[in-house]
């Protein structure tokens, strides 16, 4: 049995003048501790699928299970969601931001949990500061800390590195990768960056343009997987795979 099961999921958005078919018959299984990437042309439904997996929207057809529990409307499952921007609440201090999820989920808020998490994500003691006092990279680290604070079953990452400068992005990739491995977390990453997908994942799922369907699945070889994202980028197997996915993506977009 898989940890996460997506079963024949289809989704259509309805509005007054259009019915937009975003996803068509998606099925996939993810094992615990696996790292999966979604890539595909923009508008192919990646964000929609993440929202469905998070249980935030109900698919028009199909089901999603995490540890055999349906996700939609399930109040017991905790899911970590990271977005392209950090969406830290500007009127809350860093500490209040980090402990927000704990408070909402009525978990214990240990004193010092914020400083521990800040240390884990490689930040100095900025608990008492406000988000606007931090750089983009630091803020995204805080968002990661907020996400990890509630010990989520699964992490859903919707292009969380794409608004960062290149250096911050590489550092954060390594950080996220290490932390997920350390806690044996399951994660799904949506990205535009083929290199990032190869460097971070165990499997890459390529989606076809709208309506999104699974077009192809790329397994990453064991010796790349073992490396940190930064090292993976200089592995001999990296370039050929990049080329292969690139061509496939090009073909899909035209």
């Amino acid at each position: 049995m898989g940890f996460l099961i997506v079963e024949n999921v289809s989704h259509t958005y309805f509005s007054k003048d259009a019915a937009t078919e975003a996803l068509q018959d998606i099925s996939l299984t993810v094992e615990e501790g696996e790292f999966i990437s979604f890539i595909g042309p923009s508008g192919c439904g990646k964000t929609t699928l993440l929202s469905i997996i998070a249980g935030l929207i109900r698919p028009t057809a199909g089901n999603v299970y995490i540890e055999n529990q349906k996700v939609y409307g399930n109040k017991d499952l905790s899911i970590g969601y990271m977005l392209q921007q950090d969406y830290l609440f500007p009127w809350k201090t860093i500490e209040e931001n980090i402990t927000l999820g704990l408070r909402l989920l009525k978990q214990d808020v240990d004193r010092g949990i914020a400083s521990k998490l800040l240390k884990d994500v490689g930040l100095p003691a900025v608990e008492k500061k406000y988000p606007r006092e931090l750089s983009g990279g630091m803020r995204q680290r805080v968002a990661l800390a907020r996400t990890l604070a509630v010990d989520p079953k699964i992490l859903l990452l919707d292009e969380p590195f794409s608004a960062l400068d290149y250096q911050s992005k590489l550092k954060l990739e390594d950080l996220v990768f290490k932390m997920l491995k350390q806690y044996n977390k399951t994660a799904i990453l949506v990205t535009h960056d083929i290199g990032e997908a190869i460097a971070m994942s165990d499997r890459i799922i390529l989606f076809s343009p709208r309506p999104g369907r699974i077009h192809e699945i790329f397994e990453i070889s064991e010796d790349i997987r073992r490396l940190t994202p930064f090292q993976a980028r200089s592995h001999a197997g990296y370039s050929p795979l990049f080329q292969q996915i690139w061509k496939e993506l090009e073909r899909l977009e035209h």
């Binding site: 929202s51 998070a54 935030l56 109040k75 905790s78 899911i79 970590g80 969601y81 977005l83 921007q85 969406y87 609440f89 500007p90 009127w91 927000l100 999820g101 909402l104 989920l105 406000y130 606007r132 509630v150």
Partner: protein, 264 residues
């Protein structure tokens, strides 16, 4: 020349410019009163209608020494402060209700438009009949004039809060109330404060008109009374006092704004 020195000079220039601006502002104020006084004493303008600063000052001194002016100022200030706080508060609560029940907001939409376009002071006579010719009616006037526009502006701000903040909260299984409390309301604080600023002015309108209609006290009453007994010293003095207090109140709200929104 080093940068420090240049910066010092730059700051000096700024300070100098500021002093000049203050100087001209003061000059304008003094000039206005001097001109008014001269025009009145030389009968270029009719002193019975336009009064003069010295007469107004004498009247003010009289009313200060017998204490009556404070009663009137107190009365009007109380009504205005309550009016604009109530207007903003009720506006916020109504906006919250509309946000909570989207269908209700769709149903009420045309009525809000009608209510908003209506000149609220026209409701004065009805309020007086309904609530009696007293302070309650006047405060209601002060509040009602700002409540609909506050509702509309604050509701719009509630709706424009970035949906991704709600997404973050939803992943933490937040309830609707928590979403309101943690994201919708605080994100709209700047808007609420800015309606507060607008409402200060609106409430003065409501309260003064209300006092025109019913009151036997307050600055609005003094204006209408002065008009009836043809004492324009009284009218103009009340106007000046209103100008001072309306400005003070606005400044106060602005200070509040700076303190509350410092973390943006």
């Amino acid at each position: 020349m080093n940068i420090k020195e240049l910066h010092r000079q730059y700051k000096k220039r700024l300070a100098k410019e500021k002093r000049w601006i203050r100087f001209y502002q003061l000059l304008l104020l003094i000039g206005f009163f001097v001109l008014w006084e001269t025009a009145s004493s030389n009968r270029w303008i009719d002193p019975l209608i336009f009064s003069s600063p010295s007469r107004i000052f004498r009247l003010l001194m009289d009313m200060i020494s017998d204490g009556t002016i404070f009663i009137h100022i107190n009365y009007t200030l109380f009504e205005t402060v309550l009016g604009f706080i109530l207007g903003t508060l009720i506006g916020t609560i109504l906006a919250a209700i509309l946000w909570w029940f989207p269908t209700l907001s769709k149903i009420l939409d045309p009525y809000l438009v009608v209510l908003n376009s209506m000149p609220k002071v026209a409701l004065g006579p009805i309020l007086i009949v309904a609530l009696g010719p007293g302070m309650t009616s006047i405060i209601t006037m002060g509040a009602i004039i700002s409540v609909i526009i506050s509702t509309i502006v604050i509701y719009t701000s509630f709706r424009n809060v970035d949906a991704n903040y709600l997404k973050v909260l939803q992943t933490f299984n937040a309830t609707k109330w928590q979403m309101f409390k943690e994201a919708i309301l605080p994100a709209s604080f700047p808007t609420i404060i800015s309606t507060l600023k607008v409402n200060v002015g609106l409430s003065w309108v409501g309260v003064i008109v209300g006092e025109f209609l019913v009151s036997s006290q307050g600055l609005g009453y003094l204006i209408i009374y002065g008009f009836q007994v043809f004492n324009f010293n009284l009218v103009l003095m009340s106007l000046l006092i209103i100008a001072v207090f309306a400005t003070l109140m606005y400044q106060l709200v602005e200070m509040l704004e700076k303190r509350l929104i410092k973390n943006e």
